[in-house]
């Protein structure tokens, strides 16, 4: 029994506490910052229930709501912090600031809830304690080796998101193509809707496995890219799609080394 526990503990540590290059996480940080900046405009429009006045449905009673001026100042501050995250200046501080400001809006009122904002908030939290600024950053020389815990954690989170998104769709109405038709504004039951609905579920179920398997991860990334491109073009989901596709670099470079940057890493 003890031997099994030790073996399992060793595998756990080897996975979560492996050392590698910060390049992949830094590349993700850049794409994620662009996605976050893109999503801010949307978010500012959809999250106005964080502003005081009128009806509110708080997650936590007593959570401070914002005046209109504070609300827009908060989004302006997020834009500034997003830019710092993008260029790699004060990366942890920028991510921590984004985590606080995005969290303030997310938790201010349940009427604000968006799955996309929730994902962005969690990733900001992970980046705030990560070495994402240790490469591809303006303010410092790149580090040769860091713990890959944050890279693994974001990859695990992306896996969970795909898995639950697929499970949520496994019901007769979605499988028939009717839900997809309604979402896409196709009230008539077009013949392609049912195969498309099945394809979305199949891809969302396959990606959580295929992205982790060395032999399939490149094909999986291409298929995922195609799916998110379709989401972006048909549903105007740009920021979320970009963030999800950007996360593929974390799977494609499991040791953190970007192929084109491998030789430039200082020893």
């Amino acid at each position: 029994m003890q031997a099994a526990v030790d073996r399992w503990g060793a595998k756990w540590s080897a996975f979560w506490f492996a050392e590698g290059s910060p390049q992949a996480l830094a590349a993700f940080r850049i794409v994620f910052a662009v996605a976050l900046l893109e999503d801010l405009r949307n978010s500012a429009g959809l999250c106005r229930y964080a502003i005081e006045g009128g009806y509110h449905w708080p997650y936590l009673s007593g959570w401070p709501l914002l005046s209109p001026q504070q609300f827009y100042a908060l989004f302006a501050a997020q834009a500034g912090l997003g830019f710092l995250l993008l260029v790699g200046l004060r990366t942890r501080l920028a991510a921590a600031g984004l985590f606080l400001l995005q969290g303030w809006v997310l938790w201010a009122d349940r009427l604000n809830f968006r799955n996309h904002g929730y994902l962005f908030w969690m990733i900001c939290g992970i980046l705030a304690v990560s070495p994402a600024g240790s490469a591809l950053a303006l303010h410092r020389r790149p580090s040769a080796s860091v713990r890959l815990t944050a890279q693994r954690l974001i990859a695990a989170e992306v896996t969970i998101v795909y898995l639950w998104a697929a499970i949520q769709k496994v019901h007769p109405a979605y499988l028939s193509g009717r839900v997809l038709g309604e979402i896409l504004g196709q009230p008539d039951q077009a013949l392609w809707l049912q195969p498309a609905a099945w394809a979305v579920i199949a891809v969302e179920l396959a990606l959580p496995v295929a992205l982790w398997v060395p032999r399939t991860r490149e094909v999986a990334a291409l298929v995922g890219l195609a799916m998110h491109a379709a989401f972006a073009l048909t549903l105007n989901i740009y920021g979320f799609s970009l963030a999800m596709v950007g996360s593929y670099v974390l799977f494609l470079a499991p040791d953190g080394h970007l192929p084109f940057a491998r030789k430039s890493t200082p020893s």
């Binding site: 756990w12 540590s13 979560w16 506490f17 429009g45 959809l46 999250c47 106005r48 229930y49 502003i51 009128g54 009806y55 449905w57 349940r110 009427l111 604000n112 809830f113 799955n115 996309h116 929730y118 815990t149 954690l153 695990a156 989170e157 969970i160 998101v161 639950w164 998104a165 499970i167 949520q168 769709k169 019901h171 007769p172 109405a173 979605y174 009717r178 839900v179 309604e182 979402i183 549903l235």
Partner: protein, 128 residues
Amino acid sequence: MPSGDARRASTWISLAIGGFLATQVLVPLRGVIAPRVDTRADFSWSMYSHSYRCQAKYADRNGPFDAFAELKRRADAPLLLHREALVPWHHWLCGQHGGAVTATVRCAVDFAPAADLVPPGGDLCRLP
């Protein structure tokens, strides 16, 4: 061989990772188990997965009124038409309209037959 401090730090980080992953796996379960007319099931990654077709009609002593007008002025009307969201919402509406608000709120989720989310035509302000 890692030092005692490093080992303790790793233990705490492992616990944090385990807790985070367990939360992420378990919290969305509610969105699968609970009926969709009862809850919006936040944090369950259910985006673009379900169809909602709802009708809501509200009236007070002066006749029918647009209950969602105030919300729609502030942002896109949020998805309020779930039983758990309607309880605090109706409480607020009753306060705004001095009691005696009646409503019919019916939703068909995923093209199933429509369900009443409140007793049709009943006084919302007298509901428990």
